[in-house]
Symmetry: C2
DNA sequence: TAGATTGTTAATCGATTAACAATC
DNA sequence: TAGATTGTTAATCGATTAACAATC
């Protein structure tokens, strides 16, 4: 966890303009509005999910989106048994994956999610790029190549677990209330070679 | 994307010991082995997933774990209809969530995944901590409080989408092959005020 | 004017890169 | 010895923090 201080926050905010008034402060409402806009969170986004398996279905029903500007407007699959059905509580129906281009246009999909098996992921990405999608969240454990101008963000669940694993491997990262004397310092291996101070 | 150079890699590696031989180089095999160990990826980890809904089921069947040291050994749910069943291709059966402590012990679970609705997440986390779990991956859109020594890593799918959204908001991040003359520089708003050089 | 808080410049700190001695 | 490549020190760069003038 990194700590911030007031100077840094003031400086960072000033990068984007003068939002505050000297001697008075910042207007919370205005600041929130500005930041939302800067981060591109003011525009509602329409999400299309490719793959109506467990993961795709979970995402279509994900409650975390409720408070955000993201709405899932389409699910795609190539399994005829799933096409036309609704998934869970989601209002959205499953479209044939061959109709990606048409549905993206009709439903004005902004952002796509790839939730298909790894072997199908690149092909799906290609279809999405052809359909004009510029922002894609990829859950498939595959490294995909996108053309310039298209942003692919990979969510690799293995990597998430691996960072936890390194925590288990190094229990010295655990916080302690023991005073940091010579002994503690030596154990943690922190710049013990500093001679002054 | 950050670039690394050889000096930095040498320095970083040297932090953990002398893995190379001057004049010769690094042994790829040895280096890989060392790094795997340093990152704590040498020990097989046994994963327990709480919540056998769409997300939990997706994770239990996630192919990305195949090449890793993670094995899903238990699924938990409080839905009697699910308990005792297998989920998808996964060999693992669903246990009663009330048995978390016992199963964690019997199955030697190292790492837990929380894939339950937000309202149940803190309570599940508490159970996992009581059972002695020290590393938890949380998918619920809730900010949980863990006691010191317990590492909770949150995977917030909304945040992942939001970073994509900011890409859509700022198309100037798109790479271009156009030579970076005065015009291009002014557009991208990069330190144009530098006067020397 | 006194007090408060921003925007901004100057000082500090840490991380990256360059340079080079040590080693094979 | 000449060539190559590491480990490590010195130089550079950028980011964070401190200080302060501008403003209300």
């Amino acid at each position: 966890m990194r700590n911030l201080n007031s100077a840094q926050i003031r400086k960072d905010l000033a990068q984007f303009g003068e939002f505050g008034r000297r001697g008075v402060g910042y207007s919370v409402g205005d600041l929130r509005e500005h930041l939302t806009k800067i981060l591109g969170l003011d525009t509602p986004r329409r999400v299309g999910i490719v793959g109506a398996g467990h993961l795709g279905s979970a995402l279509a029903n994900y409650r975390g989106f409720r408070a955000s500007n993201f709405t899932v407007v389409a699910l795609f699959d190539n399994d005829q048994k799933k096409i036309g059905r609704a998934v869970g509580d989601a209002r959205v129906r499953v479209y044939d994956a061959r109709e990606i281009a048409r549905v993206v246009r009709d439903e004005r999909v902004d952002v796509a999610v790839v939730a298909v098996p790894a072997r199908a992921a690149q092909s799906v990405l290609n279809q999405l790029m052809s359909a004009g999608i510029k922002a894609i969240l990829n859950f498939a454990p595959a490294s995909l190549s996108a053309r310039p101008g298209v942003k692919v963000k990979n969510v690799d669940l293995t990597i998430s677990l691996e960072t936890l694993s390194s925590h288990l491997a190094r229990p010295r990262a655990v916080s302690t209330t023991r005073p940091r004397g010579v002994r503690a310092r030596r154990e943690s291996g922190e710049s013990g070679e500093r001679e002054l101070g």
